[in-house]
Amino acid sequence: MLGKLMKYEWKNIWKAGTLMLLGMFIVTVIGCVVLQMPGVAEFFDSNDVNGVQAWLMISSFVAILILYVIMLLASTWGMLIFLGIRFYRSMYTDEGYLSHTLPVTANQLFLSKVLVSGVWYLFISIGIGISVVALVVSLMTGLLNIGELSSVLTQYNGNIWEFLADAFYELGRTYEEEMGINLLHYGITLFLTYLAGPFIAVVTLFGALTIGQLSSKHKGFMGILTYAGVTILSSIIRSTVQSAFMFGANVMSSPGGFSVSTNSAYDINVITSLLLAAIMYGVSYYIMNRKLNLD
């Protein structure tokens, strides 16, 4: 039954998700095209900030930047809002009368929504990542071909990817040798955060909307308030645990204290996020099994 639930959940989400990815793709392509337009590199090279051409160039850049930031916010928040509305509608409005009378367990019902929504939110995160990389590469391709910077790229026979690999390697080495941060550890926690983050986000949201059902009135609004409350509370708890760890262990005054505290901060972030998701999942399961009251 879990597979069937996921199939229908996918059918309900894929159109909106694909539209958002398509929007992201179009904005990214526009950004890349603008950054590679003839004259952009020359403008940066000449340092000529006067005149109509310069004004047009700066305006275009600012417009693209604003459009891009709006797109990033719209994609992440827009998708989360869409998933929240979709979850709320299918579970706690009239459509919930069908969802909750299906011959499935509460766990199957909730899990199917978390998995499918989490996968789509992950797609959006990956899309944003690819979009940022595409824009950065596009910008650098233009800039590295001009003036003194072109000599840097000459060393790499014009291969931008090789240049980026070296640049990241150098950055990593600085992190590891000069700041004492364990890069492998950092990479693994970053990967875990990136992979688990979308699922944690949807469990937190869906859990908050489910907790809102305990209210006798304005259940949707109470769900939103709960989401805000849980998000703020989890940030406070995370900061408190990190501070307690740092000061309790005197890591800042001990040799290599900065690296120890930074590495532990990543761990604490991952652990508290997973813990929050587990609690929200458990609470949702309990409410759906023992406290469900559809209006």
């Binding site: 009239d94 459509e95 009368y97 909750h100 009378t101 011959p103 499935v104 367990t105 006798s216 009251n293």
Partner: protein
């Protein structure tokens, strides 16, 4: 065990308001039962608890030997008093959905009924009139070979011709070994099909008897007797 539904000391409270109050009731197999009562008597609350949409404050419900859960939901066909289908889906997609989730769903029967009403399965739900949406929901519910059919106000808000169609659909399509529980205000319209009636008031059971018993002992129709019992 001849009882299909066993309800013991069932209570549902909303704060200080008691919607269903210490109700104990057994429903047999193979009967068409009318659940009757004035507004606010607890009919819909009881129905929602039978379907697992509300959690009882106290008491238990067993359907065919199981507590309310996935096992009972696979045997109960529920028609709520609202449209619970997704409006941007076509009827065909909804048929697929029912076929996937309910092992007792007969697609052939559903398609036959749709055809007899001239409803095109390719159209989206949102394009249908209110009455047609209700008919589609009824067709979906009555195309299941369930043990218990729970119909909440199935003929409310539709014209008399549609009422006849709905009642005919119920009578012609339910599994004869199953029980049909119909909640309604329109007693006169459904009286002809009922075997038994339950009268509820203030969340409590007032009367549970057969229709024949009311006619023989009281010398009245169910509608007339209801008006007498619940006279304001």
């Amino acid at each position: 065990m001849n009882n299909l539904v066993e309800i013991i000391n069932l209570t549902k409270k909303y704060g200080a308001n008691v919607a269903v109050n210490n109700l104990t009731l057994n429903l047999p197999k193979g009967k068409i039962i009318g659940l009757l009562g004035p507004n606010g008597s607890g009919k819909t609350t009881l129905i929602k608890m039978l379907n697992g949409l509300l959690t009882p404050t106290e008491g238990t419900i067993m359907i065919d030997g199981n507590y309310v859960g996935p096992a009972t939901k696979s045997k109960v066909a529920y028609l709520p008093d609202r449209t619970y289908l997704t409006m941007n889906q076509t009827i065909r997609e909804i048929l697929d959905f029912f076929q996937d989730f309910y092992a007792d769903f007969s697609r052939e029967r559903a398609e036959e009924m749709l055809k007899s009403l001239g409803i095109d399965p390719a159209v989206k739900m949102r394009t249908l009139s209110k009455g047609t949406k209700e008919k589609v929901q009824l067709i979906l519910v009555m195309s299941r070979n369930a043990s218990l059919y729970i119909l909440d106000e199935p003929i409310a808000g539709v014209d008399p011709a549609a009422r006849d169609y709905i009642l005919r659909t119920i009578i012609n399509n339910y599994n004869p070994e199953a029980t049909v529980l119909i909640s309604t205000h329109l007693i006169e319209d459904v009286e002809q099909v009922l075997d038994e009636v339950i009268f509820m008031r203030y969340g409590q059971l007032v009367l549970y008897t057969s229709v024949d018993n009311i006619r023989e002992e009281k010398g009245k129709s169910v509608d007339a007797y209801f008006r007498e019992v619940f006279a304001c």
